[in-house]
Symmetry: C2
Subunit: 404 residues, 2 copies
């Protein structure tokens, strides 16, 4: 029996992989334009696109114009977004609720349906049971979702060994060496990729968000911790010792508060939600103030609480500047874990970034915006999609010229 | 007339380029071992090596043993180091002397001869005249040097546009938009590559020094400024806006002294030779103290001056840790511009690095050692050699697997 082709099998050659990746992220494009961007011959692009067209992953758009000179019609190629789907799940916990958030995305990483489920507890067993039920719910939400879905991405905070599908350490869940990839594969029957949540969101934004068209890109997340994913030359930095993008532990005040890392005055001691809340309680004298209440107070003009948010924004801007001065990304997105409080510190982030960015690095655009948990789940789906293109460094011209 | 082959023409195909680069940096190696590391067939390696052997760039070593199974003798291949030479020049200036330092290196980047010449002034014209005379002196120092040298690398501090051979800005020389590459090519008849001096030294150390065998590597230089070159995935980071590795402007003291960059309390305000000297003068009350005298005083046990060096070491360690936390290099070399004062702060650098490195990043080895100006000139020569291998990302196995 013939196996039906999948995006994975179709993207197995470098040329097909490059063509599909380029159309996924920047299509529709004509064959001539793709040939130019990928530094391939038009014949090579046509050959690579053929099986993708035959299998229904691509389609030709109606001719818009004729090619200059030849008079032949130009029919741009486009990805058939609904040909295959990808599920992404963000496993999350905060002071209020433990839950899993799942989305089903198409080939263009557009969310088709999303679902949230509360977690009864934080044990791996409970998470896998809920995860399997959530995946079922997503796959049942459309007539062809189940038949056309083979890949699941899981995003979770902590130290993740992606190659082994292992959560080595997740302080927030109390997990150590949990083979969540294998457990989830057994429970769902899907191919599973597990990734650190910040890295997953970085990959999604690089391929399908603000990072499109860049070789280097960074995403900073602010919430219970300060995270940062950095893409250099089309690939996510992983660090020689598994550490990279750790901007939360840049020292902003040598005489500052002790940090969980053992140092003093790290960015995390002033800019996490926990640090902001602690400082707001201390400033206001309200020992049982909630984060929501702190936000209200600041928005209502409480100078002491406003100052706490401003201090956090200044520290974040400094950390972003240090990262940009060192790693040199072309664009930066600063986001958070579902919080929508950017009005309280965005001006400070920009001002502090501008003050500390060195020379021309200050030109790097910094986008500040909230990303709800569904976007993080989409990041997990994007990682499972991105994993089908291991050879593609980036999604535009240089993808293939490195192989020239 | 047949053109004699050069390393450049011989390394024109991906396989030949990868074979030569591997042997340059890690040879001698057998064909079988090279095939394994490059993920090529033995036949492909043999085919790629043939023209290099014929042209005298490689030679076979005597058989050491027979191949297991086949009983055929294994003859490792080695680079014939003296087949081609490369000239490197470091253009340098400090409070005491302006000079150019030149070396002639072989294919293994071993220095064969070195020369220094003082500069009568800092004008581009004067530098080119002295540079041409220095290159002549180097090429005349051996019977076959002139015939076998085609490439010259120039290293200089400042903002260098390598692609155009242009020094955009060198504050220390007062140069702006000086086409030193073209001027030097006209004056010497050699192919010229111009590179920022820290980047040049980083490339040399990555290919021929502590960086051999790593995918990611960083070099930090301490002197009149604090510089840093970072290699990620086999390539030097250049930064989306031309800024990368700027660790000198990480803030170590928000209330610190004003920095030339416009901020306060940057690493450079406490750790450059100028900053150390100013602080030592202030601490000791000796307004005309020289840097050499400050070193003497610290070595003789003067607590106040020792403290100045210790503070500098602490700031350098913190900056190195921030860089490692963000970029994640596997190994780090901390060096200087010919100064030999590491005994005065190396312990502080290590202690501060260990305190600020995040988690497993503290395992990254930090080597601290002086590099005389001849090593910087060797860096320039290595850049002109490295430039012959634009497709090679790194010098070991992954060089070709990215193209697989």
């Amino acid at each position: 029996m013939l196996q039906e082709p999948t995006a994975k099998t179709l993207a197995a050659t470098p040329a097909a992989s490059a063509v599909l990746a380029l159309l996924l992220t920047e299509g529709p494009l004509s064959r001539v334009e793709m040939a130019r961007r990928l530094d391939l011959s038009s014949a090579a692009v046509t050959k690579a696109a053929r099986p993708l067209l035959d299998a229904g992953y691509l389609h030709e758009l109606a001719s818009e114009r004729t090619a200059p000179g030849s008079g032949r019609p130009v029919s741009p190629l486009a990805v058939t977004a609904e040909r295959e789907y990808f599920v992404g799940v963000k496993v999350t916990t905060d002071d209020l609720v433990d839950e899993i958030v799942g989305v089903l995305c198409d080939l263009r990483a557009q969310v088709r349906v999303s679902v949230r489920r509360p977690l009864p507890d934080r044990s791996p067993e409970a998470v896998v049971v809920e995860l399997a039920a959530l995946v079922d719910e997503l796959l049942d939400a459309g007539p062809d979702y189940r038949a056309r879905t083979r890949n699941l991405g899981i995003a979770i905070s902590g130290d993740v060994d992606r190659a082994r599908g292992l959560v080595r350490l997740s302080a927030r869940f109390g997990w150590r060496d949990v083979p969540i990839g294998q457990l989830a594969a057994e429970a769902t029957g899907l191919s599973v990729v597990v990734e650190n949540d910040v890295k997953a969101l970085t990959v999604a934004e690089h391929w399908f968000g603000e990072g499109v068209g860049t070789d280097s890109f960074a995403l900073v997340t602010v919430g219970a911790g300060i995270g940062c994913g950095i893409v250099v030359d089309g690939r996510l930095l992983t660090g020689g010792f598994g550490v990279a993008g750790e901007i939360g532990h840049i020292c902003v005040d040598p005489d500052g508060a002790p940090c969980r890392c053992g140092n003093q005055g790290c960015v995390e001691t002033v800019a996490t939600t926990g640090a902001i809340l602690a400082a707001a309680r201390a400033e206001s004298g309200e020992a049982d103030m909630t984060f929501g209440r702190a936000v209200e107070r600041a928005r209502a003009g409480d100078e002491a609480v406003k100052k706490v948010f401003a201090k956090a924004g200044t520290a974040i801007g400094l950390a972003v500047a240090a990262m940009v001065n060192i790693a040199g990304p072309e664009r930066i997105v600063v986001s958070g874990e579902g919080l929508d409080t950017y009005d309280l510190f965005e001006e400070r982030i920009w001002a502090s970034f501008a003050a500390h960015a060195f020379g021309a690095a200050a030109q790097a655009p910094v986008f500040i915006r909230p990303l709800p948990f569904e976007e993080w789940a989409r990041g997990a789906a994007a990682v499972s999609l991105r994993a089908l293109f291991p050879q593609v460094r980036t999604h535009h011209a240089r993808a293939l010229t490195h192989r020239a």
